[in-house]
């Protein structure tokens, strides 16, 4: 067997990379969702100071390249704070922040698409702001948000591949390692690409299922 042949342990490397990508995606999605929704709540409750601050932060994050943000966090933050940062920590911070910014934008527009007349009606009936949020706004906004959210999540999954640049052994980095050793770029990158594709399909399918449930009330089932 030649050094450039595929070996069984390559599969382990591949699976490890896949695991790292999935874990990072899941963690940054969860954190991003929590932060982005919290920012949207600041806006819903018109919190002075904090609400414009969240809007500014989201604006900065969504209008600059993720790679630049990653370099800033990985190389810049340790210098500024005089601490050490592992590549995984840097990746977690960057991707969570970036996801949060886009979640914020989606959440705000979804909240605003709930009809004003419904909010007024609920107010007239004596519901408090948080009751209106919980019973009127949230269920409808969630249904509105799922389409854009699906697009965002599929995109953020692809964006995780950027973290291979700072040395995190994710699926893309595993591909790079295998490629260097086997010198079979066409085979390696096809397999890596297919794995990303399958994950993306899985995300889209899961989102579509949730969306169908949230739109149970509506005759409109989408195109």
């Amino acid at each position: 067997m030649q050094y450039t042949d595929f070996a069984p342990h390559d599969l382990i490397l591949l699976l490890q990379g896949l695991g790292v990508s999935i874990a990072l995606f899941a963690a940054t999605t969860a954190i991003g969702l929590a932060i982005g929704l919290a920012w949207a709540m600041l806006r819903y409750y018109r919190t002075p100071l904090l609400s414009p601050l969240a809007a500014l932060l989201a604006e900065l994050l969504k209008n600059s390249p993720v790679l630049v943000q990653l370099f800033l966090v990985f190389f810049g933050l340790p210098v500024l704070l005089e601490t050490e940062l592992t590549p995984v920590q840097a990746a977690l911070i960057t991707l969570s922040g970036n996801t949060a910014a886009f979640i914020y934008v989606i959440a705000v527009s979804a909240i605003e698409s709930v009809g004003r007349d419904q909010l007024e009606t609920a107010r007239v009936f004596g519901l408090r702001r948080w009751q209106i949020l919980r019973r009127i706004v949230a269920p409808q906004a969630a249904a509105f948000a799922l389409g854009p959210l699906t697009g965002l999540l599929v995109n953020q999954l692809q964006v995780t591949s950027l973290i291979s640049v700072i040395g995190v052994v994710d699926l893309t980095k595993a591909g790079a390692i295998l490629n260097l050793r086997t010198l079979k770029p066409f085979v390696v990158w096809t397999v890596i690409g297919l794995l990303y594709y399958l994950m993306a399909r899985l995300i889209a399918k899961a989102c579509a299922r949730v969306e169908t449930r949230l739109r149970a009330h509506s005759e409109w089932k989408g195109l």
Partner: protein, 243 residues
């Protein structure tokens, strides 16, 4: 008692309500007539506390609408039915009716649902209780809207052109319910273009014209030659509407 005193409301330079004085006592049915843009709906929105007053005061059973601390108590006394129904589209008819009793009054779910089913049954919609608004006709939606308002056991029912978005058949279906409510002693403030119906059920008729209260008369007197009809604007309006 709904007590409206010297109420003024402006949108920019446009004066929509100009010194409105009006009292509605428990048990009364009062209809508000007037052309589109005369301020009828704005008056209802002011009583609901949805518009900030630019002058005057409104109180409902002594609770000041223009005082944020008393507004909730004032709103608790009033039930509102809207021109475009304003049902919550993601909730079934039953959920639309039970939402406020459960969330605001703290009624146990089981009891709220029993009450709601009884209300829906009284307007002939019991078998549609689990339908979403999108699956109901306009007339059915408005009947759900009426049940939703009644579920809060309001002392005053505010009706804002509740049949304007309905065809004649659906209008009849909604009006028959309102007639029954009026006959049973429900206090109603009824903004409408249904003049003949207003004449049948109202104790008093109020006529608004460009934000001013042109007449506030007992029904018979409003339609009398030497009463409301003596005013040229009212006579003109009625002749156009009843043609």
């Amino acid at each position: 008692m709904i007590h409206i005193e010297a109420v003024a409301k402006r949108f920019g330079s446009n004066t929509v309500l100009d010194g409105i004085d009006l009292r509605i006592a428990p048990g009364e049915v009062v209809s508000i007539l007037g052309a589109s843009g005369s301020g009828k709906s704005t008056l209802i929105r002011c009583i609901n506390g949805l518009e900030k007053l630019d002058g005057g005061t409104i109180s409902v059973d002594g609770h000041r609408v223009d005082d944020p601390k008393q507004l909730r108590l004032a709103r608790r006394c009033c039930g509102t039915v809207f021109q475009l129904f304003n049902l919550y589209p993601h909730m079934t008819a039953l959920q639309n009716v039970t939402l406020a009793p459960i969330e605001v009054l703290g009624v146990p779910r089981k009891q709220a649902e029993d009450d709601a089913r009884a209300l829906l049954a009284s307007v002939g919609l019991l078998e549609r209780a689990d339908a979403y608004p999108g699956q109901l006709s306009g007339g059915q939606r408005q009947r759900v809207g009426i049940c939703r308002a009644l579920a809060m056991k309001p002392r005053y029912l505010l009706l804002d052109e509740v049949t304007s978005a309905l065809d004649p058949e659906m209008t009849a279906e909604v009006l028959s319910i309102l007639a029954r409510l009026a006959a049973s002693g429900t206090t109603m403030l009824f903004v409408t273009h249904e003049i003949e119906f207003a004449r049948q059920i109202s104790r008093r008729i109020v006529f608004l014209e460009r934000g001013r209260l042109l007449a506030d008369l007992p029904t018979a007197q409003f339609f009398a030659e030497d009463g409301g009809l003596a005013q040229p604007r009212i006579a003109q309006f009625l002749s156009k509407m009843t043609k």
